[in-house]
């Protein structure tokens, strides 16, 4: 385990370094003059020179990189061209809004996807299985921006069940006191059940949209790995020894099928981090995804670069945690060191 951790730590550090290098150089080396991008297409030569000096673009590339790298270690992701504020602090102030949609969507996707995947596998070939398979295909072919529009059209424009897709809260409501930054939690923690409900109503449509995108991989992987374990030799042995099907489903089936699902959660988070750009843009949700969208609209490369690095780092660290969890759960790897082959 220690050796694994050591190796994992080294590769993770390499990957994190790689992320920064790739993003930094992609933004600077690829075609397109960074100074022009920053100053805008109509800037004159004098203005361009000014921008170059301001952002250190006149220095050699490696110096720029080293100073950017140094900044990262102090939690500095550069300065936004548009707002002039710190990219890091702008991102972190928006992070809770993104996490609130993302975490609920992942949670919901698991709550729906895992039982459905298990049931489909247990009744393989039956009507429920067919519905689940069709559901997986439909959900993984869904264009999120279009689905979001449809939901807004029906539930806000036609039925008026949910508030306008303009922010985390209706215009006349103030946020709860800041505890975690997740409004639903904060409202409940400060004992404002009514506010929690108001917040939840604004959350529902974006969460639902994102959930549709996330539920497909969960269902698919759960179903597949469940089918694999239920067809395994050890399940056959358990059946031959008279162990009841219900017991097999939970102890042999689900327990072993969930191992790959743990890894799948990592993939789902990746979908979530990519999908939130579209969802947040659509629902005018003030999270990091919309921040990325706005930075593209404004040619604010420094901000976009900060967003991509933040997302990459979060994703890599999450996968490290998942990897370690996996090692702890699976006796084949955690007990007695190296598994025999």
């Amino acid at each position: 385990m220690t050796r694994f951790l050591a190796r994992r730590l080294v590769t993770t550090a390499l990957t994190l370094l790689g992320i920064v290098v790739v993003v930094f150089f992609v933004v600077r080396v690829l075609p397109g003059d960074a100074a022009v991008l920053r100053a805008g297409p109509y800037a004159d030569a004098e203005r361009l020179a000014q921008v170059r000096a301001d952002y250190g673009l006149d220095k050699p590339l490696y110096e720029q990189f080293l100073s950017y790298m140094g900044g990262i270690f102090h939690g500095d992701l550069g300065t936004s061209t548009v707002s002039g504020g710190s990219v890091a602090s702008e991102l972190f102030s928006r992070l809770p809004a993104s996490l609130e949609i993302g975490l609920y969507a992942v949670l919901l996707a698991c709550l729906i996807g895992i039982p459905m995947g298990v049931l489909a596998a247990a009744h393989r070939g039956g009507w429920l299985d067919r519905i689940v398979r069709l559901g997986v295909i439909a959900a993984s072919s869904m264009a999120m921006f279009w689905l979001g529009l449809l939901l807004i059209y029906f539930f806000f424009y036609r039925l008026g069940w949910f508030p306008a897709p303009i922010a985390r809260l209706p215009a006349d409501v103030g946020p709860p006191r800041h505890v975690t930054g997740l409004y639903t939690l904060d409202a409940l923690l400060t004992g404002q059940a009514g506010l929690a409900w108001t917040v939840a109503r604004s959350l529902m449509l974006p969460v639902l949209t994102l959930t549709v995108a996330l539920v497909a991989p969960v269902m698919k992987i759960v179903r597949q790995s469940m089918i694999e374990t239920l067809g395994s030799d050890y399940v056959r042995t358990a059946r031959a020894m008279g162990v009841p099907e219900r017991h097999i489903l939970m102890r042999d089936g689900l327990r072993n099928a969930l191992l790959p699902v743990v890894t799948a959660i990592g993939i789902v988070f990746g979908y979530m981090l990519g999908g939130n750009i579209i969802v947040e843009t659509l629902f005018a949700w003030p999270g990091i995804g919309r921040y990325a969208y706005q930075s593209i609209q404004n040619n604010d490369l420094e901000a976009l670069q900060g967003f991509v690095i933040l997302v990459g780092v979060m994703y890599v660290l999450l996968n490290v945690v998942i990897d370690i969890c996996y090692r702890l759960i699976d006796p084949r790897i955690s007990v007695g060191g190296k598994a025999r082959s």
Binding site: L14, V136, I137, A143, V308
Partner: protein
Amino acid sequence: MSAEAAAVTGTTASRTNLRSLWGVVREHPMATVGVLLLVLFALAALLGPLFVGDPLKTNPAHALEAPSGHRLFGTDRYGRDVFTRAVVAARLDLVVGIVIAGLATAVGSLIGVAAGYFGGAFDEIVMRVTDIVLAFPGFVLALILVAVLGDSVPNVVVAVAIAYTPYFIRLTRARALAEREREYVDAAALAGNRRWQIAYRHVLPNSLSPAFTQAALVAGWAVLDVAGLAFLGIGIQPPRAEWGVMVAEGANDFLTGAWWTALFPGALIVLLAMGFQLIGDDLQGGEK
């Protein structure tokens, strides 16, 4: 043999062909739907532009007209015919999906097989690089690449293909690692093949099947990604006829009641993606 007899055997032959075709259809109902969808889109892409007018022609007098027998999908806020634009866009979206999947499959498989078969330092480097690329959610990676490369169709295609390539590298590498241990590889070495010959003649062809299966699914996702980027205003730009662009352009009118502006192009994106997904699902073993 008389002409009549020949005709009779001809029809029985075609009948058995039909029957076996029907058998395939019955065993793979979902994939059949997928193939039919793709055939429809391919026809629209090939022939559609011959039958509809100019997708860019505006007509302010007929802005935001609801669908009717004359204008099947209605008109948008500039009075452009939504049906015409949707048909013309089929070619772009279909080709973009297929080219992205093809590029990612070809490049990814070659790198993957080489890494898996030769191993060593090359493999280590490839794995570290894919680790880094996979550290970005695919959509985010494509987004920043287009943002930097600039908005154009080829740039979007390359960006999205780059985002999917690591998946194919991983897939074929794992398969090549398994194939490398099979006896026919040893037999090939004894037959006098050099290492690159074994990799190219023996391991590569036997390592491609998972990549081909995945390619169908990726084609579907690529369509969604390109449209999603276009919806955000990245990559393919208005006024070009592209479904994601059309949904974006129609979004505001959609939410004020002109539902046809965004409904139809969005539905077409989903149907095209679904065509690829249905086939990919079947290739992956369907029920299994």
